[in-house]
């Protein structure tokens, strides 16, 4: 590095200038680390001297950005200094996004773990005032309604995806693709109102049934199933289909025996994620299924309890004394988060374990 410097004549100004341009200094590799450490020390001192932890964290980031900008500006020039500041901002944004996730998990586990006992899983709220009680009825309700929604959504969603990939040509196919995308954005409360309006026209106003909730959840679930299944079907190589056709296998048997099994793992992943997506839905169930204190195993008759609505009701109208109900709400929320995370994990596992070996 230093050898060219000695060979340049001091009088040759342009050479010096260009040399200065091309071998401009750069910060040592340890520069970000040292700066960050210094900023953290300052932040720690601030925190110890009574500044709130959030403000101290902001101070660390700002201090780091200013320090690294100044240092880099002096040694590396304005462009690289700007680059370092942007790196800082982008990284800080990511860390900021992690905060709510961590905070949610800590809060829910911290508040919910207290009532995680046997009674909670084996008792309903029938006749319970104050302490005790459980969510057995709500677990059963959630299981029944989610299962019903899955039974409605998966065949419709899969067949629609098969239509889009294997049969669709022209306008209808494009229209369906487009409106499936739009349908993923339907607010969940609107799906609930739709189910209510549909059943109210048939059974009269004020009707409450488990199956209404299942219909509402299906409206939310079908587009997700269509989207993920479609994506997976498109990954199936055309050669597989052509090989089957060459053996004179009819198209529908090719789809059922060749295409679907090949895409099976991906479809299972998609369905699991779709279930995870709707199992925590509160709003559509609130307006269609309502809540009850006892066990109701018949989704075609009257109100049912579900975990999300249970948590909502216990928290918002806890009664007196409020503490036991609020504890139950947190534990129900913890249960929901655990179920959703577990479903997400299962989905990843399915796609990893059963993925076809040759990826497109």
């Amino acid at each position: 590095m230093n050898s060219p410097r000695t060979s340049v004549q001091p009088s040759d100004l342009s050479a010096v200038l260009s040399e200065r341009l091309f071998t401009q200094g750069s910060l040592p590799r340890y520069a970000p680390g040292v700066t960050l450490a210094a900023a953290i020390v300052v932040g720690g001192v601030l925190h110890l001297s009574g500044v709130a932890s959030g403000l101290a964290a902001v101070a660390v980031v700002v201090l780091y950005a200013v320090a690294i900008y100044g240092w880099s500006l002096a040694v590396e020039g304005a462009r690289k200094a700007k680059n370092r500041v942007v790196t800082t901002v982008v990284t800080a944004a990511f860390l900021l996004a992690l905060l709510p996730l961590i905070s949610v998990v800590i809060t829910v586990v911290g508040n919910g773990v207290g009532r995680l006992d046997v009674e909670f899983f084996t008792y309903s709220m029938h006749g319970v005032v104050g302490e005790g009680g459980g969510v057995y009825h709500a677990i059963m309700g959630t299981l029944l309604i989610t299962a019903l929604a899955t039974v409605i959504s998966v065949p419709v969603g899969m067949l629609c995806a098969i239509y889009l990939v294997e049969y669709a040509k022209g306008k209808l196919g494009r229209a369906i693709t487009f409106f499936v995308d739009v349908m993923t954005g339907i607010p969940s409360i609107v799906a609930g109102l739709f189910a209510y309006a549909l059943f109210a026209l048939i059974f009269g106003p004020g009707v409450r049934m488990g199956v209404m909730g299942a219909v509402a959840l299906s409206v939310l679930m079908i587009p997700i199933v269509v989207r993920s299944t479609e994506e997976m079907l498109r990954l199936v190589p055309a050669e597989l289909r052509e090989a089957a056709y060459a053996l004179a296998v009819p198209k529908w048997r090719t789809i059922v025996k060749v295409v679907l099994p090949t895409a099976g793992a991906g479809i299972a992943t998609g369905v699991t994620l779709a279930i995870a997506r709707v199992v925590g839905e509160t709003a559509p169930l609130l307006v269609t299924v309502g809540i009850t204190t006892g066990v109701n195993m018949n989704p075609f008759d009257d109100r049912m309890a579900t975990l999300p609505v249970f948590a909502y009701r216990q928290f918002m109208s806890p009664g007196l004394p409020p503490e036991p109900a609020i504890d139950r709400a947190w534990t129900a929320a913890l249960l929901l988060v655990a179920v959703v995370m577990l479903l997400n994990l299962v989905a990843r596992l399915i796609s990893r374990l059963f993925a076809p070996k040759a990826r497109a």
């Binding site: 996004a97 996730l101 209808l172 369906i176 607010p187 009819p250 925590g280 509160t282 929320a333």
Partner: protein, 301 residues
Amino acid sequence: MRTGDQIFAGLSTGSGVLILAILAGVAAFLVVEAWPAVVAPADEVPGGAGVTVYIWPLLFGTLLSAALALLIAAPLAVAIALFITHYAPRRLAHGLGYVVDLLAAVPSIVYGLWGIAVLAPATVDAGAWLYENLGWIPLFAGPPSSTGRTMLVAALVLAVMVLPIITAVVREAFLQTPRLYEEAALALGATHWEMIKMTVLPFGRSAIIGASMLGLGRALGETMAVAMVLSVSGGVSINLISRSNPSTIAATIALDFPESTGIAVNTLIAAGLVLFAVTFVVNMLARVVINRRRDFSGADR
């Protein structure tokens, strides 16, 4: 053999058409159930002044909270997508994307609980500070809420909820930036940030717009978190830190529907119809923008 093919083709085409029918059905059934409220005499509708007067403040609250949430979430989402695609170590990138996706997996009821128990109390001091120092801005006119259940906190919770949705779409677009463009920029001596500014951001621009609109659609329709966090008084106000806030359409439906009967139910369904129309238009525009990018990038390579 032939009949089997026909039945299967019919079934799958039928399912496709069924989806269009469901979407049309959502609109149709909502209109049918909302109609009695529209034609009812004004004094029978809750609030006593007709459907329009009932829905307008709710629509205002819906738009205000969603717009605020988007204002917070969109820049953050772009930065996070950049971090995952262009800053994080390659081996970590996938896992980090998954972590952000987990934010979307948390049920909205849990965000509601978290908003009341953690976020709202944590913002009480900040609200008081804003009132004392920036009180001359109408947004912070106060008086500051002592519980923290303000429009600002509702918007923050919404922002957290739409963040992963925007990030996912933007991330996908950033990943598709042609490698050659990026390398060409670097070869011309651009710094990492200049390379991103010259290649990644222009390439992902319509995805950013489309994704933001998707996020907006989600924020408009988000129900439980707002219903739980926001302390509501009705009326129209842009004051973000007080305890009297306009409610949102979705939250009002969730709060009032279970106890409503008669014309009140129809009024709430009419409000739901308005929400459906607004989100439908926003989502359609978003999809048009995103699809246009897809066509463009396909022709480009």
